[in-house]
Structure formats: structure tokens, C-alpha cells
Amino acid sequence: MKALRVVGTIAVSVFRESVRDKVLYNLVFFALLLISASYLIGQLTAGQDVKIIKDLGLAAMLLFGLFIAVFIGIGLVSKEVERRSIYSLLAKPIRRHEFIAGKYAGLVLTLAVNVAVMAVALYLVLACMAVTEPAAVRAAWEAPAVDPAMLEAILLIFVELMLVTALALFFSTFSSPILSASFTVGLVIAGQFDSDLKHFRAIVHSRVVADLTRALYYVLPNMAAFDVKAQVVHGLPVTAGYLAVTTAYGVSYVAAVVLAAMVIFARRDFR
């Protein structure tokens, strides 16, 4: 219980710091982007405005979230070390793994608030568009404007952001901010091509290379698996089983990475 209280306190302080750092200002930009796009896009897209607002909203949700996860995630530990506040923190009755867990939970809380507010803004804009469109136009849509199925894509975006945050935090426990950002962004990009590694066997003759790429396929985070935006926007079903397995995959990967970060941070010498 005490450990949970400590983690909670650190998490809340990370959230407060992000609010102080005006991180949540991106929500204003997101809302402005959606509202102005919903007004302008109708003139440019030959009747595809609802599809494009959904694409834009989900893509912006992911992009803004990635920026927050990477650029704040890499500073979670290194900033404390640079400011030398880590010494006073560790002098308190806080265990090192609690510190890491709290830092992680705090940034995930920031991302959760961010994603939730963006989701509400996206639904509001889509609801306005649905109300103003005539019934004949609405009938031509592949999926309703205010579609609960979009929550499936939003859930997986959030799990993906949790994973990216964990990676950024992991690298920040032993590396400089610039290197941590490079490693994290590199893994996010490599994770998009992860499924290619699975099929490498078909184009290479060397068994060693084939086995190595196969191993990499399982080790690297499969970021592409979290992308169901296309299915949701086109009104195609995403099964509950897929959602459950992919969420569980993300959560277990996050747990492994955060645990590794705790181990590294516990062994780190700050003298």
C-alpha cells in the first residue's frame, strides 16, 4: 500500500509538472485543427469530409501523443539527473523502482487525459458534421459519423503510446536525452516494418540471417499491430479477440520494458 501511495504521489507530481510545462496546450491546437479542418475540408474533398476528419483526428491523436511520449519520456529521468534533484529524491524514503513506476504512471496519466479530451473533441466535431449533413449524404457514409467503433482505434493508439513512453523511459535511465530520443524514434519506425522481418526467410538464403530476423520479429515491438484506423474508418469490424490480444501484447511488453528500466536504474551509480 505504501509503495502504491509513493508511486501515486510521484505520478501526480509528473502530471502537475506537465500541466505547468503547458503540455496540454496541444489540446487547444488539436481542437482548432479539427474545427478549421471540418470547415475547410468540405470545400476540397468531394464529399469525403467525414472520412477525412476521422483520419485527421486519429492521426493527430497519435502524432501529438508520440511527441509527448518521446520528448517528455526521455526527460523523465535524465532531467532529474541534470538538475541534480535526483539526489534529494533518492534521499527520501522512495525506492528506485517506485521512482521509475511513478514517473511512468505520471506520463501515462498525462497521455490518458490528452487522448480522452482529444477523443471527446473529435466526437463533438463529427456530431456537428452529422447534424448538418442531409440524410442522403449520411446514407452514403461507410460508417456513421459518431461511430462507437472509433473507440477501438483510440484504445490501441493509447496502448501504443504507453509502449512508446515505456521505451523512452527505458532509454532515459542509462542514456542522454538525444540518444534516448534517437533510440525510441528508431524503434517506433522499425516497429512499423516489424512484420517484414517475419517474411525475410522467403528472400534470403542464409538460415542464420533468416533465424536472426525471425528472432528480431519477436523481440522488436510490433507497432503496426496497433494500427486499426483504416478498418474503423471504413466501418470494418475489429474483433474483440484481436483487441484483447493486441492490448495484452502491449501491456506485457510495457511491463517488461518498465521492469528492465527499474533494474537498470536500481544498479545505476549516481556518485
Binding site: 468531394a46 469525403q48 492521426a59 483504416a230 471504413h234
Partner: protein, 310 residues
Amino acid sequence: MASTLPKEIRAGTAIGLTLAALLFATSVSLQVVRDRDFPAPPVRDEMLYIRSGAVMRRLTLSFNMIAADIYWIRALQEYGGTKLSPQADKRYPLLYPLLNITTSLDPRFDLAYRFGAIFLAESYPNGPGRPDEAIALLEKGLKVQPDKWQYMQDIGFVYYWWRHDYPKAAAWFSRASRVPGAPWFLRSLAANTLAAGGNRTASRLMWEQIYDTAGSEWLRKDAAWRLQQLNALDQIARLQAGADAFHGRHDAWPDGWMAMVRDRALPGIPVDPAGTPYDLNPATGRVTLSRRSSLWPLPTEPAPRGGPER
């Protein structure tokens, strides 16, 4: 807060802000003067750095849907901008590559396929006149959604209207009609095309179906425009018959519409469905659509098959 600052700093801030505003206003004015006095020659951006949809799909990571939307808007601008431009040499070199990339990034972008079918096949100067590219794009869509009867109908339409290949058109309409859930009219369209391809009734039926299933105001407007053109062709045929009859009675062509009105052959000057009077050549007696009409140029109708009726 500001009132606690020293007087010199407050005065300096006010002067700085005023100067910045003045300089900004100057730059805006200079921009206006430059645009007025040294207008840049119209430049058409015909550059597409990456033409491969597969490469673009890789480059856009998990943002391929929003990238597809951006390419879709570019395709619309390429088509609309070229069609409406005053230049004589209208070309649409990027239309197919843009639609190809759009549909590679979002393989279920229905409107991009259907838009391609209509506008890629459109003959010059209203389009690039590439029915082959229209068919290729639709066949690409069928690989993703093999049961999409609308794409099969559109391929049949391209064969019918632009290629005048009625057996192939009928085969595609028939294939579309066999897809579960496809509408009944495809069966009769297939039979009608095979029996009497080029028949204006069949053409009208096709455009009416496109109008009803367009799912986009753009396509619907284009179909409505085509239907007006078909109505104009009907009216021209009737007016031509009237002019021929006038010639039979008077052994001379009417010198204008008023001659036929005075002859009680017409109630007034005939106008096309867009509201522009038809042209009547007094030397030859030929009735044609005015070049000033928004319906000009009328389509070259498919050659009739199995009968003289057009």
C-alpha cells in the same frame, strides 16, 4: 505585472512593439506591390517525387490514411484545376499517379476508384482520355474487394461508353449482376448492352445509376450533366427532324429559328437543358449545340449496335 517594471523598459517595449508592427505592415505592403507590379508567371506544379504507391505506403508509417487523404485532395485539384484552367493545352499527367498512390495508401478508398473511372476515361479536353488507366485502377480495387459490384459496373461502363466494346461491357455488367446483393438492373443492363449497345436508353440508364449511387456530390453533378447532354441529343434529333420537314415544305433551309416559329413548326426559340439557344446553320440546315452552352462539347455517342435507333 507590467506596471512594476521600470519606466524605461515599458517605454522600450512599446517602441519595440510599434516598430515590429510597422515593419510587418511594410512587408505586407511590399508583398502586395510586388504581386501587382511583377506578377509571377503561372507555374503548374507537375512534380511528383515518389510515384510508387508501395514506397509511399512504407514512408508514411501508420499515417497512411491521412496521407491518402492528402493525395486525394491533390488528385481533385489536379483534375479540377486543369479542367477549369484557361490554357489551351490541357493535360492531366499526374491524375493517374495521384489516384494510384491514394488507393495504395488507402486500398478501400471507394470514391478514388469511382472518380478515376469517370474522370480518367473522360475524353480530351475534359479529361486525359485514358480508359485503360480507369480500368487498371478499378481492377486494382477489385483485387482488394473482389465482391465490389460497383467497380465491375464502372469497368463495364468504361468499356461501353468510352471503348464502345459492348461484348466486354456486357460481360462486366453480367459479372457484377452475379455478386450477391447486386441490384436487379445490372441483369437487364447486361442483356440490353449485348443486344443493342450504343442505344441511348441504355446510356441514360447507366448515367442514372451512377447518379443514384455516386456517394459524392461531384460525381452526382457530373452524372446530371451527362444526363442533360443526352437530353440535348434527343432534342437536337427532334429539332433536326423539324428543320428537315421545313426544307421539305419550302425547298429551302430556314434562315433562323424565327422562320420555323413563323411557320408554326416551333412555339419559340429552342434552348438546350442548360438554357442556351441551339444553333441552326441556314446554309446546311444542321442543328447543333451552341459552343457557348455549358453542355458543350456533346459526347461522341457509341456506335449503335443492332438497330438504327440512337
